[in-house]
């Protein structure tokens, strides 16, 4: 894979929040890369560090208490972490755009939607007021808002959630960014609108050839839309795979658990209880030692090594990455020997 085919590459990213109660390591050693034109999904439960990762890419971590403590974020062959704040502003909205979870609150209530799209356009492009307004109307039409000539003069409170999210998308893609970060773009919307919004993102992606970093906790969305998936658990990536492979053959016990806990329609007549993953997500201030998933894991909960040594993300062949001692082909010969000498045969 050549460097130029990558839109974004993150290496060993670590983000910590220095709070009064201690240091919360919200993101640790996160590495992944997004290819040009693909949709890369980042999946995980609430509080696992997905949004913090996204905000780190934009360099919008609230500072203090947050701080990027390690790693690098490379976009367009440049390290984003080394850019001056001014250069970074030129990238935000222009090269990398972001849409947020809550369309209800992410538009400024005192401006018409047109006003806000025009601001986004004029911040990065030298366009006259009139030209920008015409562009804003075009953008609204493009994101499927009917009667954009009238809608452009409406305030956010006059619009429904779905429409506001469309407006947010219009703002985000108005400068034709190379990367769109969609932080749970459909969580606050109902199911039919969800599909429409995702279809819209697909269309825009095809038109502009932009990459999408889709952050979600909804596996159904991932299965349909994403090319590659990274699963995050408690501040780390536990598995990266092509989305088809991930759904066919999950390698990490956490991914397996997630997939088993999905309701399925039309499979078999008998009604069974859904399987769940026992236990709760650990608090970032008090992560367990060793593999962070081990207290909830069905295979490794009593394994001394899982309790003591945290597995790193490794390639296990077939282009798949996983962080689990029990995954096929994960351990090196030396590690097997070391394990057997310490704890005896598995």
């Amino acid at each position: 894979m050549s460097e130029n085919s990558l839109a974004l590459s993150i290496q060993g990213l670590g983000v910590s929040f220095f709070t009064e109660d201690g240091i919360a390591r919200a993101v640790q050693d996160v590495s992944f890369s997004v290819k040009k034109g693909e949709t890369f999904a980042l999946v995980g439960e609430s509080g696992c560090g997905k949004s913090v990762t996204a905000l780190s890419i934009m360099r919008l971590i609230p500072q203090p208490p947050g701080k990027i403590v390690s790693g690098d974020i490379v976009f367009d062959n440049r390290s984003l972490l080394e850019l001056s704040e001014k250069r970074m502003r030129g990238i935000r909205g222009n090269k990398i755009a972001m849409i947020f979870q809550e369309p209800m609150t992410s538009l400024n209530p005192v401006y018409t939607v047109g006003n806000q799209i025009v601001e986004a356009i004029r911040l990065h492009q030298k366009k006259s007021e009139n030209q920008a307004w015409a562009d804003a109307v075009d953008m609204l039409r493009k994101v499927g808002i009917s009667e954009p000539e009238q809608r452009v003069n409406e305030y956010p409170h006059q619009m429904s959630g779905g429409m506001r999210q469309r407006v947010m998308i219009a703002m985000a893609v108005s400068c034709q960014p190379q990367l769109l970060i969609a932080d749970e773009p459909t969580t606050a919307l109902d199911v039919t609108i969800q599909a429409q919004i995702l279809d819209l993102l697909d269309d825009l992606q095809k038109q502009n050839g932009m990459s999408i970093l889709l952050i979600t906790h909804d596996l159904a969305i991932v299965a349909e839309r994403a090319d590659n998936v990274a699963v995050m658990y408690a501040s780390r990536i536990v598995e990266i795979a092509e989305s088809k492979q991930l759904f066919q053959e999950p390698l990490h016990p956490y991914t397996k658990g997630l997939l088993k806990s999905l309701p399925r329609l039309g499979l078999g007549r008998e009604v069974k209880r859904l399987q769940t993953i026992s236990g709760t997500v650990p608090d970032p201030l008090h992560f367990p030692a060793g593999c962070k998933f081990h207290p909830r894991c069905s295979v490794g909960c009593s394994d001394k090594r899982c309790q003591g040594i945290e597995p790193e993300l490794r390639e296990v062949g077939n282009g798949r990455h996983v962080a689990c001692w029990y995954a096929q082909g994960y351990e090196t010969e030396e590690e097997i020997k070391e394990y057997e000498s310490k704890y005896g045969k598995k």
Binding site: M58, L60, K86, R89, G90, I91, R92, G93, N94, A97, M98, F100, E102, T105, S106, L107, N108, P109, V110, Y111, T112, G114, N115, V118, E119, A120, L123, H124, E129, N130, W133, A134, A136, V137, E149, Q150, V152, N153, Y155, H157, M168, M171, A172
Partner: protein, 310 residues
């Protein structure tokens, strides 16, 4: 309301917050009446300035003239009667508008210029800056208001500041302005803290807004209605403060102001001379009422969150 459909060839026109708000304000009759009253007061003050400038000897300018004997009651000739020197109370009242409006306007200006930037900076940047600003205003606000304002007025009186001699009303509005920014600053700071956590601020950052742009374009408009309300209420308070200072002999000494008139009328009342008191009080009453009602209506009009469904 039926909206006209635009054809594609027409350029869509943006409608700003203010155009929208003022249109809505126009529909409120009472507010417009109050606005007219306020404008009348301002015009009067402006007119007196103008007449003094070109030395045009119209009624209010000639307030010193003796138009009759001492303490003549209201008559067809002197609508509000005369005072102890036989000067027309009506003319003095009209002239007092100039003093009051000048003081209130300058004091409001000073307190907004100090309070809004400090409040916004403290709320947006927090940290050490915030602590210093909070410390300053907490200290100021721990001193009783009248005492503080008196202290400032006494200290500033007849001093020279940057080459300007602080006489009469200058020291009054400086004293009022320098002491009254605390409330506004605190209000704005709180509101900015609230708003900067909103997602639209994050969204604005995400499409490349700088800190200054977020403050001026995104946060200030969202707290602006508070400045307006505060201005309209405080304007009244400043008129009152001027009256109090003049009443206590720290304000305007040589020219008629409402405070001085009320101070004079205090003694006159026992003799049954009520017209000077009534004239000054009525003048204060009408502008206070008008400012309050108008300020409220203005807030309703420009704050989209309070807007009723059209």
């Amino acid at each position: 309301m039926i909206k006209r459909r635009l054809t594609n060839s027409e350029q869509p026109k943006g409608r700003s917050l203010w155009q929208d708000g003022l249109k809505r304000l126009g529909r409120r009759k009472l507010a417009m009446v109050c606005f007219a009253v306020i404008v009348l007061y301002f015009l009067l003050a402006g007119f007196i300035y103008f007449a003094e400038l070109i030395d045009w000897q119209v009624g209010p300018i000639r307030w010193q003239e003796e138009v009759g004997g001492a303490y003549e009651g209201p008559s067809s000739q002197n609508k509000f009667g005369t005072d102890i020197f036989g000067q027309s109370v009506l003319r003095k009242t009209l002239y007092g508008a100039k003093i009051s409006i000048t003081v209130a306007l300058c004091a409001s200006f000073i307190s907004i210029v100090i309070g809004v930037p400090l409040g916004t900076i403290a709320g947006y940047y927090r940290g050490v800056v915030d602590e210093i600003i909070v410390w300053v205003y907490s200290t100021l606000s721990s001193i009783p208001y009248i005492l503080l304002i008196l202290a400032f007025a006494v200290v500033l009186r007849d001093k020279t500041l940057f080459g300007f001699k602080l006489t009469g009303i200058t020291s009054v509005y400086l004293a009022i302005g320098l002491t009254s920014w605390v409330g506004l600053c605190r209000l704005i700071r709180g509101e900015v803290i609230k708003h900067k956590e909103r997602e639209y601020v994050l969204a604005a950052k995400s499409y490349g807004c700088s800190g200054a742009r977020i403050i001026f374009r995104h946060l200030l408009p969202n707290v602006f209605h508070l400045i307006i309300i505060d201005f309209s209420l405080r304007f009244v308070a400043f008129i009152h403060a001027e009256v109090i200072l003049s009443f206590l002999g720290l304000g305007e000494a040589t020219r008629p102001s409402w405070g001085v008139m009320i101070n004079d009328a205090r003694i006159e009342l026992s003799r049954g001379v009520w017209w000077q008191m009534v004239a000054a009080t009525a003048a204060i009453f009408f502008i206070s009422l008008a400012l309050n009602i108008f300020g409220d209506a203005l807030r309703d009009a420009i704050d989209p969150r309070l807007r009723k469904a059209a």
